[in-house]
Symmetry: C2
Subunit: 344 residues, 2 copies
């Protein structure tokens, strides 16, 4: 549904944006010389006085090179595209992200986040491909299909990397084994003598790709024991939590893995408000190891998920770009461990 855009060719207040030709004219040299000077090309020798004249002219005009023209000519770019839909950001994700960006910049890549909020998977892939990125790193929130990967590679992307709950065919996939999170949490509860274990499933749709595998992991941990697992849908608001707490006794649960620390705090408060003792009557375990969980009474037990380091991921991107012939591999990250505090 792209209707032709009526663009307005009128220029604001006359002066056009300066190009390297303008710099050349002002410095009294050819355009080629300008290019050589400003890029510090080492294969060509330009005298020092000329270099100075060119630099001064560029400075005076406020010349800034045109990235699109440059990468068009070069036939390739050093742009790494990070698709972002809606990010349920936490502090540890935020830190990872900063480090990742910093490391990529240090490797001389240009990091661009491209939001594609309301688009279908293939439609989005096409939009990304238009930018001709050298690599695409999808951080889990966006589903990228094999079809989409094919479009991207055909458009010149030398590496497609996904970091998420499940791998994608044709990509360097880092699978953060969400099942493992549910598994260790549940195993911990079983070992502590709990038998009827609830698992909170957030109703927020963006979280389904995490919560599903976590529930599966919980079931895996319960298998072979006499413990049972009960899924508990929950919205992130007080009303929903109170409702769940109100029918807690009829559910007959003696423990709950609450998806993450925020849902855990929400639910724990509701449970306490209806007179249930934590951890005596109900054990509660969250995930993410937020600072705030330590401030509660009882202190919240949690699962600490060790994120991949930003620097490592950046190096993976760089390697994949420089050696596109090595076939993509799927690797699992399964560093998750329970931090036991007082609530379990």
């Amino acid at each position: 549904m792209s209707q032709p855009t009526e663009h307005t060719p009128e220029r604001p207040s006359g002066r056009a944006v300066p190009t390297s030709a303008d710099v050349a004219r002002l410095a009294g040299v050819s355009r080629a010389t300008v290019s050589y000077v400003l890029n510090n090309t080492s294969t060509v020798r330009i005298s020092e006085p000329t270099r100075r004249r060119v630099r001064e002219a560029a400075e005076e005009l406020g010349y800034v090179p045109h990235a699109a023209a440059r990468s068009l000519r070069a036939g390739h770019s050093r742009m790494v595209l990070l698709p972002t839909s809606h990010v349920p950001v936490g502090p540890l994700y935020s830190q990872f992200f900063d480090e990742f960006q910093w490391a990529l910049r240090r490797l001389d890549y240009t990091v661009v986040q491209y939001g594609s909020v309301g688009l279908e998977a293939e439609e989005a892939a096409r939009a990304w491909a238009e930018l001709r990125p050298v690599a695409v790193v999808s951080l889990g929130e966006v589903r990228l299909t094999g079809q989409g990967v094919e479009i991207l590679k055909r458009s010149g992307a030398r590496a497609v990397i996904t970091l998420g709950a499940q791998g994608v065919e044709g990509t360097h996939a880092l699978v953060m084994d969400q099942g493992r999170v549910g598994e260790v949490a549940t195993a911990h509860l079983v070992e502590s003598g709990r038998r009827r274990i609830g698992v909170v499933i957030p109703e927020e749709p963006g979280l389904a790709m995490f919560s599903g595998p976590r529930l599966d992991g919980a079931r895996r941990a319960a298998r072979g024991t006499d413990a049972t697992v009960v899924p508990l849908p929950l919205r992130y608001d007080e009303e929903s939590a109170n409702e769940l707490a109100a029918r807690w006794r009829e559910l007959g649960l003696d423990a709950v893995f609450a998806y993450n620390d925020e849902y855990a705090m929400l639910l724990m408060r509701a449970l306490q408000d209806v007179g249930l003792a934590v951890p005596e009557e109900v054990a509660v375990v969250g995930a993410d190891d937020l600072l705030l969980g330590r401030l509660l009474r009882p202190r919240l037990s949690t699962v600490r998920i060790d994120m991949v380091l930003g620097r490592e991921l950046a190096e993976l991107v760089d390697r994949a770009v420089r050696e596109p012939e090595v076939p993509p591999r799927t690797r699992s990250l399964l560093a998750s461990q329970v931090v036991r505090r007082e609530s379990s």
Copy 2:
């Protein structure tokens, strides 16, 4: 027929990304026709059979247009650049952000977030200018100097918009009056009979541009009354909070405005742990109105800051782009109000 020079020795069957010329060849038409068909140009008439052939050829080759070449030719892009240094976490910001992106996309803009982590202000502005965005929207975390604005405008940006604690010369500035936040919080405490009021100043450097004005606002509210304001530096960890709580009695404070809800929770827990009663001995007020604050006992009083709506901001961007001749104005957003719960 003038035979075109076949300057490509490598076959497109291998690893060449298809261009509109390839589509034209396959469909047996000229490149111009391909462009007309794929862009639905209404000023030129192309027969339906030809249209179909072109579309099929494009589909078969997996053709995706080259955005850089397109905007180079067009002389302008519809890209809105959002510089982001470190992502400020928070649910209300996240929601605002999604809505903003969605609204801009709906207005046919391309939203690109560009991270410039370790760069100086002017250096960063130059990097942004290279991308030739039609508009730049700075969301507060990054300081953008008047110098930087000049660079951007000279590079063709038709609108520069800043949303933050203070305005920037030459931009459409939306100033979120942080002083007002401290002012209403303090005024509330004074009206409740408190006289010695602490104001938490986070030591995290990125927050200085918010905490400074908030402190000033607090002082403003105390002026003309017999209340006094005491700045309290604090790190976001338990140790720092405990330290502060330990010397609370010697400080002789009967209230604290804790910068935001997270710092408030941290400090309130530390105060309670040393035996101080909230709110009887110390009143605590946070800011941001997080859900978690409502789960504490006592429930946390807070300042709700009404963010500008994403859709509104998107419309402002669009207006500024279409009418670059209207001079930029600075507007203040001062919708902040205290939500009184139990901690004050």
